[in-house]
Symmetry: C2
Subunit: 427 residues, 2 copies
């Protein structure tokens, strides 16, 4: 169980470097889409690390990869779960998700070593990487954790198709991760360590963030329908240009966010145009629009305003719009006892900690209401996210691991209870 | 050489129905992208029809398909060429291009029968289908006729790639149309019959249009570059959203056309977004923009205004824009003698004929300045084009063929000279 520098899990930097090689891009980032060969490489690396720790590997139907470590030597011991995801966006950073998985592996190694040395534990540990967090290759996001939490049906998720028409089920089978194992039971507590993807920590000088609330999000798929025509002779007044309608909508959605500075985020990240030919007036355009806010009333108002703006944009272009899919994620508080535990662990490590919101979705939020969850942030340089230049200072990467490690140890010595861990020993 | 109802070339309707089966869509149109298997089927049908006429088949390097019929029985006889294209847009109409090829085949059949019956001719006939007129699968448009006319290099055209990365050369080889034959020499006159794709003929009640001028076009590829970021936590003021810049540009380009009603057409038919993920602020967006006008000064002014609008749109979104490709097609007159010949032939058929502009590009325009060209239009119902519902009345389809046939006969009896044909016999 001792580390040597030749092993990929010698320390957090070595392990991140090893993961970064799976899907490395010329720009210093990674492209590791869910269930791609590159994702398969990263999963293999994780699995091999966990096997070296003596963990029991389980792969469930949707490819969630679990490693169970019996620390408590009691078949009825509760479970503490640590993890995040290994999939990425296209040309993304090396830390998003991967940092949480790598840190979970190293925390597990430390606790396994302590258990082997005789330290008593009252909970077992599980390390997890969830399938398809990003929603890049297979939409929507939070697939694997959503199935585990009972929010999505495994059959539905396995039937999702990428742009080439390949199902998630087939893609998982192709990389050897279409499993048949039962997932572990719901843990007594789930912790996820992640890069902030914002600038709150950097601006405040805190090394650790403990997340107390997630912003709400409204995700709208809007489809503009016009009429296919020749871009040459068709008189302008006869055109029913679906792309023009979508363009008006994209501009108006941005204007909507600008009406509520700092309180409302909006975006259109994805667009599909048919037939998408230079000489053809587009007949059908689908856009994926998002609204995010920490204010429930504002989010509801903005969602209604956005839908009205889409209707007006369509009418202005002489086309129609439908909204075949609306996904609403409410604003919710994360359990205070877990965030207090994180803060206490940061304090014990001598690290400045502050509470903050998460604007982005995370697998931890899938498990919210199913078990106590904690979400721990470290600073992102310049807040860059979903970008190859995403980075965190090495010292901050080590600090986040130290806090995760300490919190996991306290939980595993308190039968997984965050209340017990908060009250209990601080070592 | 006699027609029977069981043959696909029994008449124009039967032949169009046979071509329509190649790439038929559920919506009653066709999808027959250049060098696709469906294009291969249509080419095979054309080749078989020409072989039955005793034509010499030639396929040149870029897949242009020629059938040469020696009518003049003189090895030094000039050539009259008739044709158009068999490729289509996605979910397009059955007539665009195909009508001109089908009518050319039937006109050739008639003239071959007349020659066999002893009628004297002083020019030979050639039927052609040009590769890649549409610019849908392989961009830009007018590929095969552009190579034949010396406007494009064959090597460049063969190296063009579709969205799957397949070159035109490889696609032609896959369907058996990567030829090695020398193309025929430049003809003494080229005639192309086409559906109007506009409403001028329908509104005027004329059955035949003779094209006297083509509109100019400016085709601009504009690339907006921003910065990839997370759509959640990234503060709105920090976003550099390339899709937002493109959306402003699309809206502004439409507004530009609206400033010059009836005199300026504009469009954006194609957009490519990277990384095109719902959760990622787009980093790079390429749009294919077009401006068309019959007024040279206006087209130049509008092109400059469009480029300035793109710059302003980019600046407003905090991104940059580059225009890596500008293609300008000047406004030009078609030779009056050929359009007069078409008008004379229409009159001889007892058909109302009017002269008009073409706004769309056609293969005939590739050959303009290389040889005398004529472009004959028949009405399009409702002006619908690049649309599965594209249609022309059966009577008008027959009228167009009759005019093409008569004009070809007169040309082939006047050594291919449009002046001679116009002066000569009217039978």
């Amino acid at each position: 169980m001792t580390s040597t520098s030749s092993r990929p899990d010698a320390d957090i930097h070595a392990l991140l470097a090893a993961f970064s090689a799976c899907g490395a891009t010329a720009g210093g980032g990674i492209t590791r889409l869910a269930a791609s060969p590159e994702d398969g490489q990263a999963r293999d690396l994780m699995r091999d690390c966990l096997r070296r720790l003596g963990a029991e590997i389980r792969i469930d139907r949707v490819g969630n990869l679990f490693g169970l470590l019996p620390l408590a030597r009691n078949p009825h011991a509760p479970l503490v779960m640590l993890g995040s995801h290994l999939d990425s966006q296209t040309r993304a950073g090396r830390l998003d998700g991967t940092y949480g998985v790598a840190a979970a592996i190293l925390a597990a190694e430390t606790l396994a070593r302590e258990a082997a040395a005789g330290r008593p534990f009252s909970a077992d540990l599980c390390v997890v990487s969830w399938t398809g967090e990003e929603g890049a290759r297979f939409r929507p996001s939070l697939l694997g954790s959503g199935v585990y939490a009972g929010r999505r049906a495994a059959d539905d998720v396995l039937a999702l198709r990428d742009e080439a028409g390949i199902t998630l089920g087939a893609a998982l089978a192709a990389i050897g991760y279409a499993g048949a194992d039962a997932p572990p039971p719901m843990p007594a507590c789930y912790l996820e360590l992640h890069v902030e993807q914002g600038t709150v920590l950097e601006a405040s000088g805190a090394a650790i963030g403990t997340v107390t609330r997630n912003w709400g999000a409204a995700k709208l798929d809007a489809v503009f329908s016009g009429e296919q025509a020749h871009t040459g002779p068709t008189p302008m007044e006869d055109r029913r240009d679906a792309l023009l309608g979508a363009a008006y909508a994209i501009a108006d959605l941005r204007a909507l966010a600008d009406r509520f500075p700092g309180r409302l985020h909006s975006s259109v990240g994805r667009i599909e145009v048919a037939p998408n030919s230079a000489n053809v007036v587009p007949a059908r355009v689908a856009i994926a629009a998002e609204l995010r806010s920490a204010d429930d009333a504002l989010l509801a108002e903005a969602t209604a305003l956005a839908e009205a703006a889409f209707e007006a944009a369509a009418a202005r272009a002489g086309v129609t719009v439908a909204i075949p899919s609306r996904e609403l994620r409410g604003i919710r508080a994360l359990p205070g006892v877990v965030s207090d535990l994180v803060a206490a662990c940061a304090e014990a490590e001598g690290l400045a900690c502050r509470s903050l919101d998460t604007v982005a979705g995370h697998d931890a939020l899938s498990l919210l209401d199913r078990c106590p969850v904690g979400l721990i942030f470290v600073p992102s340089l310049g807040g860059l996210a979903h970008n190859e230049a995403e980075a965190t200072a090495p010292r901050d990467l080590e600090a986040g691991l130290a806090v995760l490690n300490r919190a996991a140890r306290r939980l595993c010595r308190a039968a997984g209870s965050p209340e017990g861990a908060l009250r209990g020993e601080t070592a």
